[in-house]
Amino acid sequence: MAIIEVNHVEKSFLNHEVLKDISFRVEEGEIFGLLGPSGAGKTTLIKILIGQLHADRGTTCIFGAEYKSKNNNKNESKNNSKNEKAIQNVNSKIGVVLDNCGLYERLSCWDNLIIFAKIHGNSHKEILEVLSRVGLTEAAGTPAGKLSKGMKQRLILARSLMHKPKLLFLDEPTSGLDPGTAAQIHQLLYELREKGTTIFLTTHNMDEATKLCNNVALLNEGIIVEYGVMLRKSQKYFNAAMWKLYIPQNLT
């Protein structure tokens, strides 16, 4: 069953076409990677998917709720109340980790989570569980403003997991993190997938995509240039130039 369906989405900023006729599907329970260099349009697409931006043309469908483009909205505004409710319902099923997801920097990790726990009706035990899953139990009392970048990223991830989302959007979740922290986040994403969470992530790290993703779409200059199973895509590009490097054991 497709959780996300994107059909012919287009988006421009000041006459600059950022996304051109984008279409793809994300199936339930998979990790889908949107790959591409910086400026390819990955964040714009993720913002359209979570409803922060409107597409100029085309439709996006999440859990069956259709996010229409600007033009469609103007024409059919009167018939949208049902769809609005469906979109509100979608928000309760998704978790989002974007680079612009702010934290209450004066408040501790615990307080940052308890606000959202109160909104979602979670217990203190569930907050402790989430903190433990992201490895922030010991930093629970530390103000968010004093956390390192990796810890902030994990706190944002913890917050997005509070309501046990069925679909998780991650925008470059390990960008700028050290390999150890990145590996911890990868492990957490594996665990989430095992529990049935569908994950949509953007990255420009091919290695990360190879490790994590079932399917990928390769975005370049606003166009999907490759789309399909990750393994086949990586073989297509890397079979031709495979090098083996042997390092002597006594090398110091």
Binding site: I50, Q52, Q88, N91, S92, V96, N100, C101, G102, L103, Y104, E105, R106, L107, D111, I114, I115, F116, K118, I119, H120, G121, P143, R159, H163
Partner: protein, 232 residues
């Protein structure tokens, strides 16, 4: 539909955040403290002590809510924390009700100090509390209109501080200038200042002016809210 659970969560967040935000804490306490110090310093004089209570309580219920409400909303917009709340399903109206009721509660709580400083008695305590409620409510709506239209704290302060000064200081300036007074009589802060200085000025006319001011500020808030919403 409004959810009490969400309103409570945001109210709780604001209590926690304000306790760690020195600038906002200072604003809540500054006018009661100044009035207390000046009134105590002049305690041996029979006249003039009520002047400070009138002036500073007006500033407290007009200036403080405008600046604090605008600062809270604009900070949430600047740091993208408001977006997270909206994305978890919090209705913008739930957010505004939480923030508004928090600022109203704190302004009345800290403003109650004036009851003791001014040695208010009997029914005048009730008149003072109703005045502080209405004055703060109108000012909070003004602060919300400014916050909704600002992208960051600096932008909000650039508007909220002059607007706050204009409305809060007008009654004081009007006391020394009849021309300004003839104009400021149509402003809610002037009417509230008069009522809390001398309860005999409470009349149908003063209530009507306050109601008209409330209607204008509500319309301004709705216009600002619809124009920019909270999360662009």
């Amino acid at each position: 539909m409004l959810h009490i659970q969400r309103i409570h969560a945001i109210f709780y967040k604001q209590i926690k955040d304000t306790l760690k935000n020195t600038q906002i804490l200072v604003l809540f306490f500054v006018y009661p403290i100044i009035a207390s110090v000046l009134t105590t310093a002049m305690s041996n004089q029979t006249e003039g002590t009520g002047f400070f209570v009138g002036i500073f309580s007006t500033m407290h219920m007009i200036f403080t809510p405008i600046v604090i409400t605008a600062a809270i909303i604009s900070e949430e917009k600047e740091k993208n924390t408001l977006r997270n709340l909206i994305m978890t399903g919090v209705n913008p109206m739930e957010y505004l009700i939480s923030i508004g009721s928090f600022v109203l509660f704190c302004t009345i709580l800290t403003g109650s100090v004036f009851i003791f400083i001014g040695d208010f008695k009997g029914s005048f305590i009730l008149i003072f509390l109703v005045s502080i409620f209405i004055g703060s409510f109108i000012s909070i709506l003004l602060g919300m209109a400014i916050g909704a239209n600002s992208k960051n704290i600096m932008g909000a302060n650039a508007i909220a501080v002059p607007v706050g000064i204009l409305f809060a200081f007008l009654p004081m300036v009007a006391a020394f200038n009849t021309k300004i007074e003839s104009f400021s009589n149509f402003i809610y802060s002037q009417q509230i200042s008069k009522i809390i200085t001398d309860e005999s000025t409470l009349s149908f006319k003063s209530l009507l002016i306050i109601i008209i001011n409330l209607a204008i500020v509500t319309a301004l808030f709705l216009f600002a809210y619809r124009k920019n919403s909270l999360d662009e």
